[in-house]
Symmetry: C2
Subunit: 192 residues, 2 copies
DNA sequence: TTTCATACTAGACACTGTCAAGTATGAATA
DNA sequence: TATTCATACTTGACAGTGTCTAGTATGAAA
């Protein structure tokens, strides 16, 4: 224990909120409860984040940053790998992902640094699709394909995470296999 | 006014809640406010729905029923049309859709009649994919393709509805064109 | 020694969903 | 006609929440 510094309250609150979002969903986050668990007053968390939306924005910012890292790792392996990376990120960081995609919780327009991280992740996707389509593709085609790729990855991620997909398709041996198959289907049309 | 019967409270509450979900998201629904607006006591809505989750379940049940109707209309026109119908339903019934897909708001396991409507909609999708793949397709293939089709439609719907897609891809002339293009891309792989 | 930002604490407020108990009304039943 | 009973509410209370305002302890900078 010697020399161990206590976690700064900001980090403690953030981790607690992310864990609740992962296990029970973002709406189950009560800052008063988090404060009680941390042994501080009910207003201590608000000092660090301003208000409830501020906490969600902080979670979203961190989430988009982590998503970008995950996408970068898959970058060299093409669009299919990126699609897989997106879905896997969502499953591995459910707490972050659920908050990131709920713009009723945190309007990124009010949180520039969070919006910056979101833009960064989006641009990685855009670049990857642009590369895959080659230099002759029109911007219209690129945009359409980007929307398409994002839709596949985002749809699968949300359906697996919070939707009834896994239950409905029971008998599928392995979720990872499903993810790989869907990602391959999504990119097979790139050759057309 | 003669002969006009007042809207039953149940329907009034439901419509108000759906409108709030459409305009501000499901979390903005306050049953006490709805009750005040309807000029009844704060407990009157609870009489009809039991609790807050009960209202969400009622909205989800109605939503899945309407979704099934929309999918049936597109049924004869193939998987691409069904994909378009799904996305268009989401945009046209945002209040319902946002609630339907939030199973943290209403666990359909507790509301059999809502779960029944959800199953009905899913089975329409499954049938359509099965028909498109032909009689030689394995159940594994059918399940994978169904997950894929649902992912595309669901992803595009949620990104257009609550995500930053439309803003990110600004310059796209018409959302309807985008939907049609993405739906076509999704089904182009069926020929493989 | 004073100034000042940081990191909180303390108290109050309006608002929420929910539990419990009461009331008015109209149909079914004896 | 009198009683029973479910329906559709009303009323009141409770714990819990986010947020506003004001106060306090602490440590660094001037």
């Amino acid at each position: 224990m010697s020399g161990a510094t206590a976690d700064p309250l900001r980090r403690v609150v953030l981790n607690a909120a992310i864990a609740i979002a992962r296990d029970e969903g973002p709406d189950a986050i009560s800052l008063r409860k988090v404060a009680r668990d941390a042994g501080v007053s009910h207003q201590a968390p608000y000092h660090h984040f301003g208000d409830r939306a501020g906490i969600f924005a902080a979670i979203a910012e961190e989430g988009f940053s982590k998503l970008s890292e995950a996408l970068i790792k898959s970058h060299s392996q093409g669009t299919s790998a990126m699609c897989e990376a997106y879905v896997r990120f969502a499953l591995d960081h459910a707490g972050h992902f659920r908050v990131m995609m709920r713009n009723d919780l945190c309007d990124l327009g009010n949180y520039p640094s969070a919006a910056f991280q979101a833009d960064r992740a989006f641009n990685l996707l855009l670049e990857n699709v642009t590369t895959a389509l080659g230099k002759n593709a029109s911007t219209e085609t690129i945009k359409t394909r980007t929307a398409y790729m994002w839709s596949v990855a985002h749809g699968l991620a949300t359906l697996l995470l919070d939707g009834p997909l896994e239950k409905k398709l029971e008998g599928i041996a392995d979720v990872n296999v499903l993810i790989a198959h869907v990602a391959r289907l999504a990119t097979s049309s790139f050759s057309n």
